[in-house]
Symmetry: C2
Subunit: 235 residues, 2 copies
DNA sequence: GCGAATAAAACCGTATACTGAAAATGACAT
DNA sequence: ATGTCATTTTCAGTATACGGTTTTATTCGC
């Protein structure tokens, strides 16, 4: 998914992107170029450029005090899902049609890890396995533009996903949808994959919306109103 | 569409992005950070960061000698259109449903400019008016993520669009499709807009493919085989 | 003159330095 | 305690500098 590459910016970018996918960076964390640079024994600039790139791609926002993961509004969630609904069912159908036996095995392996993690309530493992499942089927999408766009849209939800998986009931429902998609992949039925992915999209949207709604409410009650953020634009 | 903003990177980015939309940067041009910086009397870094951002977004590629507009392969074109087909008909339908009278007027005004430019064979004006038409209806799309994604995917074609519009016959067909979409907008019929946009997508894909095919052939006959490109990755 | 070797230039990646603005901290008054 | 104001700190943005690599220009041998 990401290149190792020989230049520092790409290396830092790939590292941060991975952490974001795994929800390893919390909304309260602040990423500062000098810190990242010091941790690697390099200068500010490459770290800064990687951060800036993540900002321009919409994963981070620049605050006046370091960079933070972007928090999604309810409208963001609805809007992002509207796009996902247009793309993912179709892409998954293509994947089901075109996947090789190797990729099919990868998908199944990821699905097994998902279910194992769920049964053990191992949230980090669940997050990782979930990413793996997605990446596995996306590998069978032979349109790189489609795959990259989908990847990107999914990654926006990293800040909410943690909340979704933390609640066992929600996580169970989510994984159930995933497992139904997996079954359709096993059946090699593109149309079934497409339909189930469509259903999954709606269910996931609901789940994310309700989790986020709760998050926002909690934040509201905690502090009446405050916090100035934002500074740099996303263009 | 783009922010003026107060920092230099964003200013340069917006400027370059606009030039790219208008096909004002040719594939043979080479963008160099120091040049851009000198032209504005600033240092390399902001220019460099803007260029890097355009690279990461896929508009430019880094060569060993400056940055160049990305040239699309035939597969790129097919892949990009596969995504556009999923998004634009739906988005345009939403736009037709939700547009205000002001936006409708803007769309019509842009369409008029398109037809005027076509009748006068004024290619630059045609390019600009085409961009205006697109931006006008995109304004009525109240999902910013959808609009931004579409904008981005359309902008990838800047290097090919010039070739499409240069040929009067192709341009005529292209504009004809546009005008049919416009008529559907005027009729306030979301479904008609959706269908015509779908048709337009297929026609446009064909047009771009044939133009690009010709371009590649000409390049082939001109020089048997050469040119090493690429250096930086797009992640 | 023409091709190979060598010198010069161009340009990217990275490092370091400076500046100004915003936020945290703390002093002080109410 | 609470609010206001001044001080300090932190960090983003920009500028400048250097090294290395690739490309172009130049020189030399044939």
């Amino acid at each position: 998914m990401l290149k190792p590459s020989d230049n520092l910016v790409d290396a830092i970018y790939a590292d941060l992107r991975l952490k974001l996918q795994r929800s390893a960076i919390l909304p309260t964390d602040r990423l500062v170029d000098t810190e990242i640079a010091n941790a690697r024994g390099i200068s500010r600039m490459p770290a800064r450029e990687a951060l800036l790139r993540l900002v321009s791609e919409g994963y981070l926002v620049g605050t006046t005090r370091g960079f933070a993961v972007r928090e999604l509004s309810l409208d963001d969630i609805s809007g992002l899902f509207e796009v996902r609904r247009q793309l993912e069912p179709r892409a998954a159908a293509c994947a089901a049609r075109d996947m090789t036996p190797e990729i099919e095995a990868e998908i199944t392996a990821a699905m097994n890890r998902v279910e194992l993690a769920l049964s053990q309530s191992d949230i980090p493992a669940l997050l990782a396995a979930n990413v793996d499942f997605r990446n596995a089927w996306l590998k069978a999408v032979n349109n790189p533009h489609m795959a990259a766009t989908i990847s990107r849209f999914i990654d926006y939800f990293q800040s909410v996903r943690l909340g979704t998986f933390a609640d066992p009931a929600t996580a169970g429902l989510y994984i159930d949808g995933l497992s139904r998609i997996h079954a359709a992949f096993l059946a090699h039925d593109p149309l079934m994959v497409q339909d189930r992915m469509t259903l999954f999209m709606f269910a996931a949207e609901e789940a994310y919306l309700s989790v986020r709604r709760r998050q926002l409410q909690e934040a509201e009650t905690a502090r009446p109103a405050r916090r100035r953020i934002q500074k740099r634009g996303t263009a």
